[in-house]
Subunit: 352 residues, 3 copies
Amino acid sequence: MNQKLFFSGLILMFALSAIGHYAHWDMIVQFVISAIAIIFVAGFLGKATESVAHYAGQRLGGFLNATFGNAAELIIAIFLVKEGLFDMVKASLTGAIIGNLLLVLGLSILLGGLKYKEQRFNNRLAEHNATLMVMAVIGLFVPAVFIVSEKFTFDKDQFLSLAVAGILIISYVLWLVFSMVTHKDMLADVEMAADHGEEPAWSKRNSILFLVLATVMVAFVSEWLVHTLDTFAERFGLSELFIGAFVIAIVGNAAEHSAAVVLAMKNKIGAAVEIAIGSSLQIALFVAPVLIIISTLFGNTMDIVFTPIELTAIGVSVFIAKSVSRDGNTNWYEGVLLLMVYVILGIAFYLV
Amino acid sequence: MNQKLFFSGLILMFALSAIGHYAHWDMIVQFVISAIAIIFVAGFLGKATESVAHYAGQRLGGFLNATFGNAAELIIAIFLVKEGLFDMVKASLTGAIIGNLLLVLGLSILLGGLKYKEQRFNNRLAEHNATLMVMAVIGLFVPAVFIVSEKFTFDKDQFLSLAVAGILIISYVLWLVFSMVTHKDMLADVEMAADHGEEPAWSKRNSILFLVLATVMVAFVSEWLVHTLDTFAERFGLSELFIGAFVIAIVGNAAEHSAAVVLAMKNKIGAAVEIAIGSSLQIALFVAPVLIIISTLFGNTMDIVFTPIELTAIGVSVFIAKSVSRDGNTNWYEGVLLLMVYVILGIAFYLV
Amino acid sequence: MNQKLFFSGLILMFALSAIGHYAHWDMIVQFVISAIAIIFVAGFLGKATESVAHYAGQRLGGFLNATFGNAAELIIAIFLVKEGLFDMVKASLTGAIIGNLLLVLGLSILLGGLKYKEQRFNNRLAEHNATLMVMAVIGLFVPAVFIVSEKFTFDKDQFLSLAVAGILIISYVLWLVFSMVTHKDMLADVEMAADHGEEPAWSKRNSILFLVLATVMVAFVSEWLVHTLDTFAERFGLSELFIGAFVIAIVGNAAEHSAAVVLAMKNKIGAAVEIAIGSSLQIALFVAPVLIIISTLFGNTMDIVFTPIELTAIGVSVFIAKSVSRDGNTNWYEGVLLLMVYVILGIAFYLV
């Protein structure tokens, strides 16, 4: 999209979102405007991240991409945690994980696969991603089984949740050390989305300024968006669960979705896989644990127990994403399968 | 078996089965005669399919083989659905899936492995089969978890079952497009059972005629067989579950079993794997969904919820079959493991 | 450790343990002394096994290593079974399996990986280990699901447990035939720990004598150790479950642990993996079934039903160990992940 047009849209939607919130416009109108604004702002955040990444180098750039790509999700979730809306937080975490593993990955693989008969990427990275996905599932399943099966008291529940949260964060940080320091060459031939070889439009100083500005904008629009959710849910007869697992997840990840699809169609499937799977790993191994710790700071610890249907959704998504990506090559049919599983989960969650 | 002898046996058993049914012979006698007759008729169906396949070409031939191989199963199941015997239908679907993945595959791998130290087959096909097996398990597990865990009303249960059934059928049809049209070369070096290089005994016209005739014969003998099951179960103290999951499955798949074993012992392990796994995939992704849709046409929708023990049986069968076949080579010990799991499930189901 | 020093320590601790038991010293003092004694005696058993293995040849040597490495575990468990302490038996079996798959394997891979950037081993063996691990999990899960879900009577429970136990033992024996007779070349390039190329210190006759002596010593110290457990558990507020799953498992496997770690740091990661995974397979496929059969000889059949948290612990350990070892190469981060899962399970079991 033409840059002038994009920035005009960005500023317009942001302004409308602000006005709509403070002038108390109709909630549904506010929701629509904020949702569109989030997409623009997330796109702005994406551009700023890419620009900073260009100066920071490939690996760090990819990491920044994945991290700030989850920024919108994380900020929305912090607001929900502050309000004590734990069920919707977990629903949106579930939605982010399955949305990345099934919708983003599936769409990228399908559209890339319709263009190129077969697309290949670094097998070693695929193996590591698979092991990390198993780790994430273990981190979310084990506490739930113990806490429910043995009927842990509230104290023990909180303690185990915090302990596991800490362990998952440590695992994630050590993964960064492993993949960016000690073994970066082993995983190095995944082309990072950041590096397009072109000269970025902004200077280093401006890139960092815009990154900060974009993050602040995401924070505001997220708060206005969350504010409209109750009414939106009521009006359309959608459960909080569905809003969290599908609506918030899709809106919050919009910029990421398009980035991955575009890369896949440019035959850079490795980068698309890295964005999709890397993003879902970060949510399970970093964002979720961080939220549990933040909730303790707010004085009301959120536990790590997801519901059976959420755990099932995460489990099956990891299973099929692992199976599809393990061999280091993809085709259109594998994309179709991922999307089909997403549709099955969507219908199931809608009916709850 | 000598052709004259075979056709004599076929006509004799078919006639006896018919007489036994209309003359109301003792139920146990009828059961034994019909069971033997089913084996002959399934064999006839197999020959006719191979003959048609010879004219239709390798890939389409293999597909026809798998499809008409399941014809007996499907027809028996339609009669059970019409009678509203949903529990026995699901038991026999479970039995067909685990029978193919464990008994047929296990026996083929074991007997082939005793002859040849190691047998290899197309790795790419194995990878795709593995992913499709994961898809099948997801399609059967997810609805069950949601419907039971969230206590879905009957309406929602039916809706989700029909929706998932439709999605599984679409996935299967697209798999046919993928494997026979867009990517057939990638999966092409699996020798199809159809092509033995010999001139078929029947002309194209006769082959198709015989295929139709054989299918009609299967339909009749199936009806007579199903008619005897209640008495057979009572007399021998076997539960409906065991009859469905083991007796019907073994009898209905008899011809398929021998075909796969014969191929494995001729060192065509790829074709044996294709028959066994391809058949179980077809049952999970096509036959089961089709039965759900047919049941709706009969006015009483069968839902897609299998019992915990049935889901466990299907799940573990997929797990170990995946693990054994994933690397594209087999040996006698892997065959033993598959058969051992089948025995464990057999004892467990018998005790229920 | 210097040999003279080792044998001095061995004889001293053994004597103190004997005296402490018969003179009724304070239970905690007895526990500490017996625990240290067990470690010495297990080390003695290890040396004797290595020596015998040197004369028996590579493959048989590796098998002896794994078998006698579990001797301490097995003997302690037989005493617990005799006392009817089935819950603690199953807890210690669980602890042995997860201890090998996570603690031993994780520590070996981590420490080896800090020294060598990447360590490789026989891929074919890894594939077979993965399939056997799936078999073990199936053998433990399926009975539990059937017995609990269908509310089996005590008789059926016992029958299924004994039947599955028999099938698992047969599977294990056939695995020995497969890996040591029919297909030993395929799995042959795993260097066995037994063969260091040096001349052993003891003659063949002495090696066998010492092996018998060491086994007898393990038997005695185990009995004295088990005798102190109740008091130890009370004094420190630890549950029987935690004692079984962590304390007994770590103490009983101490010699094995150090052997595997030392091998990994000598860049013989294949042998370390063989010890760790081979040992846990032996416990699931041989020791557990044997205990069930022995319990029947004592007149009170132990069933094969593990608790949900034990099954979850075993399941996740198998999952992540499989994922880490499947590709035939390891690095320090994979070791970290295995240890992290062990810590999560440790905290969870402690809180129960």
